[in-house]
Each structure stands twice: as C-alpha cells, then as structure tokens.
C-alpha cells in the first residue's frame, strides 16, 4: 500500500503545485486586466510567444481523448496509462499559454469583449485541465464524471482557440471564404455583418467617418480597442479613450486626436502608428474643419464650404514599398516555366511589374509566325497571364480552350486574327476580363450575349466585324462597345 499512498501524495503535490499558478493567474487577470495600454517591453516580448505556445495545450488536450478511447481496445490497452501523463502536460502547457496570453494582452494594448472572452476561457481551460487530471486519479469506478469533464475541456479549448483566432485573424477568419451553399445550410446570413455606417448626408458620415475607417479601424474599433479608444461610432469617438476625450468640439488645439495626427511622423505619439499610411493633408484638413465646426454628428455635408473635395483627398499618390522577397516567393513556382518561355519568345513575355507574379504576353509582334501550337506552349503559365495580345497572329479557333484557360485575363487582344464566334463563346468564364478586342475578326453579333455576361468587362472593340454600330445591343453592353 505504501507505494500507492506515495503516488497519491505525489499527485496531491502536483495538484497543489499546479493550483498555485492557476490561482495566481486568476488574481492577475482580475487585479490587472488588459486595459488597452501599452506596457513594458519584456512583457510584450514574452507575450508575443503566446500565439506559438497555445498550440501545445491544443495538441495535448486533443491527444487525451484519443488515448482514452484507443485504450479501450484490447490491442492498445497500454496507451491508457499514458493519458495521465499527457493530461499533466496539457495542464502545464495551458497554464503557460494563459500566462503568456495575459502578458500579451496586458502589455500589448488589447481590450474589448472578444479579448475578455478569450482571456477568461483560457484561464478556465487551464483550470479544467487540472480538474480533469485530479478527477482521473481520484475517481474509482466513477469514470463518468471524468469523461464529462474531459468532453467539456475539449469543447472549451475549441471555443478558446476559435476566439483567439478571431482576435488575431479577424472575426470571419474561418467563414470568410465559405461557399454560399454551405452558409445557407448553416443558416448563416449570406452577407457579412456590417455595422450600420453613419448617414452620408452629414459631414461626419460622409467625410470624417470614412477617414477613420480607412486609417484607424484596425486598432480602434469593435475588435480591438487600443488605449480603450474606439472610433467606429460617433458616440465612442466623443467618449474618447483612457487618456480622456480625444475631440474637444470647437477647440482644435486641445483635441488630442488632432494633435496626434499632426505630430511629426517620427514622434512616439504620432498616429497612425507602425508604418501605417499617414493621413493625407486633405484628410487632416477635413478633420480640422470638422472639429472647428463643433464636431457635430448632424452637421449637414454642405455646411462646411471650403472643405477639400473628395477628389483632392484621393489625389495624393503614394507608393507602397514593394516586398521583393515576397514577390520572389510568389514567382518561385512559375519562374522556370517563365524563363523557358522567355527564351522562346524573347522580350514578349514578362511580369506585369516588378511587384507582381502576373504576366503579360505580346505575340502580335511575331505576326503569322505565331500559331496555335505556340499558344498551346503557354499552358504552364496560363493562369498567371493577365494581359495577352494575339493580334495579327495565325491563331485560329483551335486556341479557344488555351485562351479560356487564362482565367485571370484582364485584357485580351485578337485584332485581325482568324478566330470566330467559337473562340469568343469559350471566353464566358473569364470573369476578370475588362477589355476584349475583336477588331477586324470574322465575329458576328451572336457573340454579344456572351460578352454581355462578362462581369467586369468595360470595353469591347468590335470595329470591322459584322457587328454593326447601329445594331441593337444588350443593355449590359451599353456604352461599352467601340466601333
């Protein structure tokens, strides 16, 4: 009996040992909740490991029911005892992950309901792990309670992980690309939830809110309220953040928000932070005028006369830094095929820009020397070609499928080729096509309905075909056909 008694006390010791950090965690979370402020470097540095560490408890917790269930089979009976050890590991790693999570949240300026839910479920998850572990050792014959607790733990872990994912990847990170049919099946709304935007008849709604939306929402809206500040509604904007009000109606000088956006970009207090695109001069001017006009939510759009017009606001052209390493990575897969084709068609095939992996191809300079077989050789890179010019080449309808395979085409030129309606018919799935040029081909008005179905089409060049300028056109092609 002594060894088992020993073991029991050993278990007790571990239980107590694990209980201490859990209690500490509760105290931390209650006494020092994340409040949207940024803090100590070290805590933040350590906290950044939270997203990595969370995968440990996930794996361990999932492993436990697997071991338990598999162990029921006589062939795997030896697996069952190890569940105990894995559960212990799960407990330790859950405590670790939760602690790191607190570091991240407390020091990295996180707050908000999503954040709070995730935090509490993480703390409770660690507690549940310990509880499972205790139950597994204590209960003789009462496996039932243990299995319920384990099932609950797995469920809680799923929930915690999902909320965590939403925090870091955005609220719809799982469902963003869910096909419509599946959405319907799950009875989710077909469209993404949108907070009703303020009225565009007001100056605030039409001119100010869009600026915040464009520049500030990533850190200051429903999902994340850094410094406890939300800018996604008029009420929360006027409430301000942890430093108090950020807008003082009629008083530009003491409006913290205005001060922050007009500081030199190198200042620690400058907003928007972290290399996000700064507000343009026109946008700053708009905010200034609005605050000066008492920052009202109801002020009509036309009330401020000399506000910079929206076109001037959009007119400042800025360049984004190109991440050449990312471009190279994107190109890596197709680079060998591109290099080979460039040897075959020198100067005619190239990337659309140094910042992209999309391709442009111009066969028109080869004229009659370019035939269906040549076009077929583009197959390995077909879905990267966005601009293609086959004008005056010898291609025929045999190339229809090869052209249709260039699914991302934006511009297609077939001027003076032997293609007919058959080729145009096969283009119906090119949903990115903006410009189709069939000038001087033998196409007929029969292609018009197909072309009308292309969702992004802006121009159809139909000169010198049997399509006549005075022929009736489908409504979708109004003003889009050039003769």
């Amino acid at each position: 009996m002594t060894p088992s008694l020993d073991r029991l006390s050993q278990r007790n010791r571990f239980a107590l040992l694990a209980l201490t950090p859990i209690l500490l965690l509760f105290i931390l979370v209650i006494a020092f909740p994340p409040d949207g402020s940024e803090r100590a470097q070290w805590a933040q540095f350590i906290g950044r490991f939270h997203p990595i560490a969370v995968h440990l408890p996930i794996a361990f917790i999932l492993l436990v029911p697997v071991l338990e269930l598999a162990g029921r089979n006589s062939r795997f009976v030896y697996l069952r005892p190890s569940a105990d050890f894995v559960l212990g590991l799960a407990t330790v790693s859950a405590i670790l992950a939760a602690s790191l999570g607190w570091c991240l949240a407390r020091s990295g300026a996180y707050s908000g309901p999503l954040m709070t839910q995730h935090m509490w479920s993480g703390v409770w998850l660690a507690t549940m792990c310990l509880l499972c572990w205790v139950l597994r050792g204590r209960l003789t014959g009462g496996e039932f309670v243990y299995s319920i607790a384990l099932a609950l733990t797995v469920g809680l872990m799923t929930w915690t992980g999902y909320r965590g994912g939403q925090l870091s990847q955005g609220e719809d990170h799982l469902t963003e690309f869910m096909p419509g049919a599946l959405r319907k099946l799950l009875m989710m709304s077909a469209e993404t939830r949108i907070v009703s935007p303020p009225s565009t008849a007001t100056f605030y709604g039409a001119r100010i809110h869009p600026i915040f939306e464009q520049h500030c929402f990533t850190c200051h809206s429903a999902n994340k309220h850094k410094s406890n500040l939300r800018l996604d509604s008029y009420a929360s904007l006027m409430r301000g953040g942890k430093h108090g009000m950020v807008i003082k109606p009629g008083n530009i000088q003491s409006s913290e928000l205005f001060r922050r956006i007009t500081l030199p970009a190198t200042d620690d207090d400058y907003m928007p932070k972290e290399n996000k695109k700064p507000l343009s001069a026109a946008e700053v001017k708009l905010i200034e005028l609005w605050i000066a006009a008492d920052a009202s939510a109801t002020l009509p759009l036309e009330a401020i006369k000399d506000a910079p017009s929206p076109t001037t606001a959009a007119a400042e052209v800025t360049f984004e830094k190109v991440d050449f390493a990312a471009v190279a990575k994107e190109r890596a897969g197709l680079a060998p095929a591109v290099a080979q084709l460039q040897k075959r068609f020198p100067n005619l095939l190239d990337y659309e820009s140094r910042a992209s992996a999309d391709l442009m191809f111009n066969a028109s300079l080869l004229g009659e020397k370019f035939e269906d077989a040549d076009l077929a050789s583009l197959a390995p890179v077909a879905d990267h070609i966005v601009i293609a010019d086959f004008s005056r080449t010898a291609i025929t309808d045999h190339s229809a499928a090869a052209i249709a395979a260039m699914k991302r085409l934006r511009s297609l030129r077939l001027v003076h080729t032997k293609i007919t309606d058959a080729t145009v018919h096969s283009l119906s799935r090119l949903d990115q096509l903006e410009s189709l040029n069939i000038f001087g081909t033998r196409t007929t008005p029969a292609v018009l309905p197909i072309v009308a179905g292309l969702p992004k089409l802006r121009h159809l060049y139909a000169g010198e075909t049997t399509i006549r300028a005075d022929a009736p056109l489908p409504a979708a092609l109004k003003d889009k056909v050039l003769f």
Binding site: V317, V322, F324, Y351, A355, S364, L365, N437, Y461
Partner: protein
Amino acid sequence: MPDSETRPNKQDQQQPAETHQDVRRAVLEAETRRHFLRTLSGGLGTLFMGTLAAKYAPPAFAAVPSSEAALDFTRDASNPLSVLPPQFAAKARRVIYLHMAGAPSQLELFEHKPELTRLDGQDCPASFLAGKRFAFINGVPKLLGSQYPFHQTGQSGQWISDRLPHLEKHIDDLCIIKSMRTDQFNHAPAQLLVHTGNARLGYASFGSWVLYGLGTENQNLPGFIVLLSGGKTPDGGKQLWGSGFLPSVYQGVQCRSHGEPVLYLENPPSVSRPLRRSMLDVIDEINKQTYAEFGNPETVTRIAQYELAFRMQMEATDAMDIRKEPESVRARYASKPGEASFANNCLVARRLAERGVRFIQLYHWGWDSHGSAASEALNIGFVKRCSEVDQPIAALLDDLKQRGLLEDTLLVWGGEFGRTSMRENRGGQQMKFVGRDHNPGAFTIWLAGAGVKPGITHGVTDDMGYEIVKDPVEIRDLHATMLYLLGFDHHELNYRFQGLQQKLTSVKPARIVGEILA
C-alpha cells in the same frame, strides 16, 4: 639578469615615445634593399590579386534585392534594349508625344477668357509687367482678346475655339491641363526642360528614360522614334531626343518623313543579305573584343545599332510605309504619301504604336506666333498650323480608340510654354501682324489615353489667362505623372552620373498630379 631586464622597462615607462621611435628605426634599419624589393613585388601581387578577385566576385547588387535597394536596370551587354517590367503595374505601355515647337497660343485654342476679350486693346495693367522678363515686349503693351470665337462642346462641356473642328469631336477623351508652368521663356531651354527635365544641355530625354526603364518589345525597330514634320528642327536641337548621360543606345532615332525613312537601309547592289550578315558578324566580333578590353558602354551601343539596322532593313521600311494603308484611312488623316507632313507622321505613329514602339515623338513646327511675319501671325500662319494638325490628331485618336490602343497608349500634346495675354509690341511699336509674346507663367497641354481621366479640365488661370490661380502643374510634375502612368516612382527611375542619382524630375520635389488620374 634581472637588472638588465628591468632597466629597459623602466625606460619604457619614462620615455615611451622615444622607445617606439627606436624600435621603428631598428626595424627600418633591418630592412635591406632586398627585403624592400621582395615585399614590394609581393604587394604588387596582392594588389593584382585584389583586382582579379573584384573582377570575378559577384557584384554587390546580385544579392537578394531588399526593398531599400534601387531598381536594377542592368542588362545583358549584348541586349541593352531588352524588356524590363515596370516598377508597378502600369496603365501606359507606350507614349506618343506631339510637341508643337514654338509654343501654340492657349488663348486661341483652349482658354476661353471673355474678360480679356472685353478689355481687348486697352493698356496692359502695370501689375502684369512688374518684375517680368519678356522675349520681345517693350514698354506698355495692349491687352489682346482671343482672335477666335469659343464654344462649349461634348458631354464634358469643355471650352474650345473654332480652330480645331476635328479634334473637338474628341473633347470627351481629352484631359486638358490649363495650369502648366515653366521657368524658361526662350524656346531652346524651355524645350529642353519639357523634354529632358532640365533647361541645360546634357540631360536624358523623356523617351530615353522610358527606353532605359522599360526596354522595347519590338527589337526590329528603334524603341524611341522621332519624326519631324518638315519645316525646321526645333530650337532645342537633337538634344531633345538625346540620351544625355544615359548610354546612347537609349537615344531617339530620328526617321525621315519623306523618301526612305532611314537612309542607307537598303543593301547596296550586289551585296546580298547573307553577305551583309557575315560582314556584320566579323564587325561584331571585333567590337565585342573591344568591349571586353575597354568596357566602354558606347561599344555596346555600336554593336546594338549595327544589329538594329540589319533587322530594320526588313521591318522599318514596312512600318513607315503609309502607302500600305487603304486610301480611306489616309484620307481621314489628310495624309499625302511622299511629302514631309505632320499628317503622314500621325499615321506612321499609329503604325509604330501597333508594332510595339515604346516612345514615339512627333514634332510640328511654326507655332511661334509673335506677329512679326505672316507665317507667325495669329490670323494667318497660326490658322495654317491649326489646320495642319487638327485633322491628323483627330484621326490618330480615332484609330487608337477604335483599335483599343488608347487603353495603354499615353498621348500628350503641348508646346514649351504659353503666350501672353498682351499683343506683342516688338521695339515698343505696334506690329504689322497680330501676335503674342512668350508666357512661361501659364500654358495649356492635353493628355489622352492610358490611365488619364478623360473629359476633364485641370487647373485654372486668371481672367486674363495670364497667371495660374489654381492647381499649378510644373514640368517636373507632368513628368512625374507620366512616369507614374508608365509604372514608375520618378525617384526610383534613376541613373548614377557625376556622383548623383540623376532622375528626369531633377532635384526639386515633383508632385504626381493625382487629380487627372483615372
């Protein structure tokens, strides 16, 4: 023993400088002539090895380009015109630039100024003259209202005079900038500024920059072609399409507007094409040796030019031959094959655009309407100039639009500066003909095509059309905007020369005119 050891140490502490000198002297004295020669040759050997290593070491920029790195425009030496992708996805892939040398009067074409017409014949207010320099105006000139009636047209309702009846049908395709400004009031420097971004000689022209940045798809034609329309060469001279400090392979190739487009393209009698080829191969070989020996980029230019000329024998003649166009098309351009005319050149420009020529520069001449002679009078020569360009430009726009080329071709029309709101009074006297002096303070250009907002007017001048009151656009702003349309940040398209990262927009800050971008 201990004594002898401690003594020098002591000395060392007391007079360290002297001891060091002693040691050095001892070292030098120990160095014999033989030592010297041995280390000398060793040193030379090391130097030589150093240069060798540098020669074979990969160049610094071969490392993974970081986002900070300048754009790399290095090309294979045998193919200096090869295509390079633009920095960013570009709206425009080629440019047709219509330069009206001499500076057309904006007040007779696009600038509707009823107030100026009302004040026609009155003395110019002193405020217009204070601190201004003119080419010819003396004393107090008289205000001069527009010589032609204006009307609004198109869906965009833009103003235009009655001098451009064909072009006005395309008014909804044009983006008219009425607030262009320059700091040069004489033709040659002003033209240089418009073409090279600098009023002095020696800078690279816009076309050269574009060719340098993008290369050219059609290797059988020059990537930068210049066509004059008879008359005279622009005052700025051939520097307007020169490559300046860029390797001369990027300079514009001037083609003749009548007769053979490029002289001596035909092989002489009894020289067959294969014979010519083998001759060129030998010359090539020699040139390549020369390049390997001296590394002068101009040798590469020479090789490229021989090769281009050989390939052009086939294609240039065909591209420039407007007789290949149907009579109906020629009629739309008012083109008459065989003569040197702007109309013929517009048609050629369309054929070149179809053949992938990157930069097509057309000149028209005789727009310097001072009023000192009939050919320079607003009511005589100017009328003729308008009729010479109106129909061909409209036909060019027609064709580009119909064939879908306007989508990725940027068309630019303009002179080098504007003309005054006052009638020119050369020598302080009324002149025989009606004319205007140079006005660098405000002029009008228009753009059309790739990435440009159609049917808009940008910028406003005062009621006299004399000075800009809203949205001034400097030449460098125009250049930055055009480069933007071609896919470049104008800071990044640069070339190291004389210790500077030279760029088309030069050193003053240039603004991309975002308002005119579609």
